[in-house]
Symmetry: D3
Subunit: 289 residues, 6 copies
């Protein structure tokens, strides 16, 4: 980088201009997770990207999960995990731990990092302002929640005041029960309720591959109907299935485009938004392009 002159810097800035114009005032929801959240270096870069986008007028919203840290804290607390059909049973004590880790540890740490990098951020859980309403999915699993409604007002209020909202994906019902809800699903519902221009799903893969073993088979653009075909034909498999389904949900709820992006790449968000090199796979409504 030292080789880059200031003249070149200026040129780079100017070349970002059409992209800045394109996204000015638009809402972009980032579902944040995986390595981009674990690696300190990548985390710093994501924060810088968020703050820069906010400064140039993009209204960014950060939605995060936190699986690994929950598991780790549970282990420390000597809380054993029980599984039914491979799904973790979430009793009251477990959901309390989830709440502590997500809304207390991870959320505030991200808020803190954004502030350190010059952003103005406020953290929200699904309980704040009644953001995420959820209900029990399956009684045997306990407090695992299905999202029933997203109230976008708290996020919009913070955006209007110039903050970057950082959202923990907990939900609650009218009685005040708290539920652990899936981060990808919550992000899809939130982006939909906000009518977001983009939902960016940060993952640890390159994107959707035709041949899972071969990165050169990356599908860079995927319409809803094509995605449905790939699901049917079994080309999309394993953990990618629910992720693609979330993307389809988001588009069905009104998000313009969803991008599955490799969070292991430096400044991948900025590159996606402010340069001509989109990373990963972009999904879009058939009627759109």
């Amino acid at each position: 980088m030292d080789a880059i002159t200031n003249a070149e810097r200026a040129e780079v800035l100017v070349q970002a201009l059409p992209y800045i114009r394109k996204y000015f005032g638009k809402i972009i929801v980032i579902k944040y997770g995986g390595n981009a959240m674990v690696s300190e270096e990548l985390r710093r870069q994501v924060m810088e990207d968020m703050v820069l986008l906010r400064m140039v007028g993009v209204r960014v919203v950060l939605v995060h999960g936190g699986g690994p840290e929950i598991t780790e804290t549970m282990k420390k607390l000597g809380k054993e995990s029980v599984f039914i059909d491979g799904l973790r049973v979430t009793d009251q004590e477990t959901v309390d731990i989830v709440q502590m880790v997500l809304a207390g540890k991870i959320n505030k740490t991200l808020v803190n990092l954004l502030q350190v990098h010059g952003g103005r951020a406020i953290g929200l859980s699904g309980m704040d302002g009644g953001l995420i309403r959820a209900e029990m999915k399956d009684e045997r699993l306990g407090f695992v929640g299905a999202v029933t409604k997203v109230n976008p007002t708290p996020i919009l209020d913070l955006l209007e005041k110039g903050y970057i909202p950082v959202v923990s994906t907990l939900g609650c019902d009218k009685k005040g029960n708290v539920y652990n809800v899936n981060g990808d699903t919550a992000a899809a519902y939130i982006a939909g309720a906000l009518g977001a221009e983009r939902l960016i799903m940060m993952t640890d893969i390159d994107g959707v591959l035709k041949d899972r073993e071969d990165p050169s088979t990356l599908i860079s653009r995927l319409s809803v109907s094509e995605a449905e075909s790939l699901l049917e034909e079994g080309v999309i498999t394993g953990g990618m299935i629910p992720k693609i389904q979330c993307c389809l949900t988001a588009i069905a709820h009104g998000v313009r485009k969803v991008i599955i992006m490799d969070g292991r790449v430096s400044h991948s968000i900025l590159m996606e938004i402010l340069t001509n090199q989109g990373a990963g796979t972009m999904m879009y409504h058939d009627a759109q392009e």
Copy 2:
């Protein structure tokens, strides 16, 4: 209560009218702690009081601590406490636990309760929007913070949007280090920065007593200079000393009146604000009355 007729109810409501008028649009900061926070019944009542005050136009702010739950969680995590001169050493791991418990567990549980009782609440930690700036007090104690500055903007932004802000008393410095700061002190600084009409300190005592053993010696009104005399003369002792000092700080920073109140009494906040029966000890600037 069943004996109270609807006519009497109406009469009671009408008699609250002058108080409602008095506090309309004013900011009241409640420092919440002690039994009022532990007892489920009292907690429900405090939430009801908060929501009611908000509905009748008072701009309430809830500031909470959480000592007992922190200790309990640390025990569960097998984290031993080290003390220097009677003060707990707060290493990085400890401050992480404090953050989890305060900002994740207690804060969000209070937000949730307020929402269940019909309020609209959003939780903030000292990191959110750079609310509480702090610095290390004593290197040997680690991440125990002294408040250096309160930025009231995030609270005012939420009040403007109609929310009840719920604040965890964590602080951070410019580098992003997180500090555990004393709840009473933080509440005093926050109330001062907001120019609050009242700061209500909920405690487990009746108020300031002339004779600590005799509740009938309660001092119901105490000017700043009187308080200073009592401190000097040694009438105020033990844990009451720092509490009174916080009250003096608050008044010095611009809070109109500070009340030390017995949180073990049902709906003590409502009684203080909306009836003619002030509970506990009210402290005020000498020039004021």
Copy 3:
């Protein structure tokens, strides 16, 4: 009442919470008349009720008549009343007296009382801001007006500025002729034009009775179609007929619910709005419940 403790007071206040929430920001029109207007004690209570409702966020509008005082003033002025088919002939001199008594005496006295009880009130007649447009009903009767249009802007302007509008039911036409219009009818049209949540008709009876002689036959809820049946069947008779017709008019023009209420009961408005004990008869659109 002296027996009510402050703890009970607080409890009563808290129990009003769900009702306060329900009516927050809503418009309630009170058609004020009868004993509630004559008795000094009841009048004081109505004023307190109005001011309290305004303080807790309800947008109240007071519409008043003034038959008895008009008659009394006419008598004092030696103005004889002429009747055609039992209806009073209203010549120019009479309508001048009506204007003086309604807009000058009663209206300003109510405004004054509301101010004394801590409210902020401004009085309006149908001429102010072109509030009530009317036309001659019957040439033989002179300046007795039928409402042709209500312009709600002056009322909404005052509500926006935080005042309690107090309305005298005079109307005028484009040429500036003033008409005496029926208070109940005017209230119905005004409530309709405001899309009021409630129109409360204060009367000197318990409400609609199945058997006029037997208060125990009070009908507490009455749908529009049921009311129409009762009118057809002759169950509703005498002075109750036009009153019910006004209620139906109000509902037809968009008022959600109309309540015929006994104004002789202390704080009947507050009880109706802020407790679970609705007094009198509530009328509603069939499609509503």
Copy 4:
């Protein structure tokens, strides 16, 4: 007038331009009374003048008295007047009549006329919104009030919403007692509280004359100190003394200029404001010109 061509009309309009500019957005208080209020033709002209000034951006306020109509109504009601030292004793019954006539009869008739001429007007008494606070002047005289304070908010609220406020000069105290206050004095206080650009006193004389018998001795401009000299020297006599004192009060309270104007001249207000021919006597602060 028929001889005036449209070309001349246009020319006249254009010549009003600098005056329109000068008064745009400024507050002008008209104290209305005398023949201009009695003659139907002059009354129509005053209303037209008011509405036109409002349309071209002047914020006009009309303050009226009503002596003759009060006397007439009292006579009709068979209420005898008692005098002490030449001043009418105002008992409760009398002040009630004053209220009826001023706030009910005259005020609403003026409001109505303004509306008929295309203005948007709302009438206020001194009770509305606590506009005029007064206290008893002399116990023997009863409810004759001295103005103690004017709260300009109700007038400013109506001006902001585009209305022409029409004010009856009644006052009230905190207990709700109503007082008859002198119209000229009230107008002076109101104009002062509003920081009016002009206070126009409509009278039945040409203005201040050096020789009361000789209209050719009209003083067209009079500084405060000159007025004080004339008072001292006894040049100003009789009913003109209190009128001049009101003018001095208005200027002392912040009104820029006060004009004593002959209301018997057609469209005298418009001529004063929109042409180069000021009528009557203009009074101003010594420091001003």
Copy 5:
């Protein structure tokens, strides 16, 4: 004029009142040209008319051409004009001159005059804020533009801030090519995009005549269908044809009424708008009257 007394002046002003009310807040677009622009005296009057209309609340927009000055400047610069089929070929050099004369000379001189007469004016060309989009009409003619779109935002922004927008009829395309567009057409499109109440076309003729040679055959009101008939029947001929077509365009795009007016008459705009004597020919949509 000297014979007009101030009383008559006031009367004239009052008689303008209904017209002022009628146009309050409405948008009137003046297409300015011909003798009214050449004669210094007439120019002054047009400026006065504009400023007066603005002061009484009309939102005026001035659109100007400038044929004669362009020709004159071209001559001075020794630039010869080439014609194809009677139309001037506009090469780059010519359009540069047009831009200089229209946007630099005429536009700023008009702005300056409006300011001198007390108005607040800002000049716009079709390039400012992307006001007028145009495309090449005919390659052989060069930079002669056909209007493709009008973006009314810059005009509305200036109106909101209280300015009189003065518009030069240049257009540009996305690449930045500048075109000379016909002033009448541009005015029609602009008035349409603004939903103007009136478009006034200032010309050097009396209006539409049935017999071109006979001024007494002036058609004072002309519906769209009547105008179309006259065009078909060949009653409208010569230079009046495109002018009438512009008027039809304006009405089709949403202007309420278009007036072809004789700009050689003193204060013709003011007479048209503020008196009962409309000059020239008024065109209107068939459905309107």
Copy 6:
């Protein structure tokens, strides 16, 4: 540049972050002239820089001169220049040409370019909205103006509406006489009236040099008192003297810092504002650093 990867691009963008934050919402006035205005390539870059700065929240104002084009047009028009003591005599015809070239040709061409590059721009001359008031400097020189007052409202109005104001440095007096005013001086007054954060003077030199012949003697930072010393000592000579005096004027009128910058360097504005490499000489108030 092709060698710059997207990762590097993202990194460059992120490194601009602290500078973007620093100037967010601040006003920067660019005095544009010299080679940066003549060379098409440099002109394109300046436009890009302006648009980019506007997009990232900087409120930029472009002030331009146009000496060479004026001279050229005068030559074309066969208008001979007369000089007195080396200063050009500016008769009415000359100032007309200046107006055409500055406000018509150059201003609108710059506006057009900014629009083509995606900005929203509106051009102003000193006449628009009474922006620049001027008076005759020396009768012998004719319409050469000295700035007497800048009214910043038109610029602030356009900034508020999101436009980039482009200003031609013409002035006018109350009678409407137009004056050619020196561009540097006008820019200094405008920047002062706006309380600008930066005034950037684009020139064809490196900056202030200690030894005029040796670019290596560039003074990169210069306090007001140092500049005054250099002027006194004769280190600053020739055309640099008035330029430095303009800078001193700007600082005296409230501009925080003035930069004399080499406009021949690519994207010099962007480099100055968004990188750590300030070009040219920065002048500042002694008290500031």
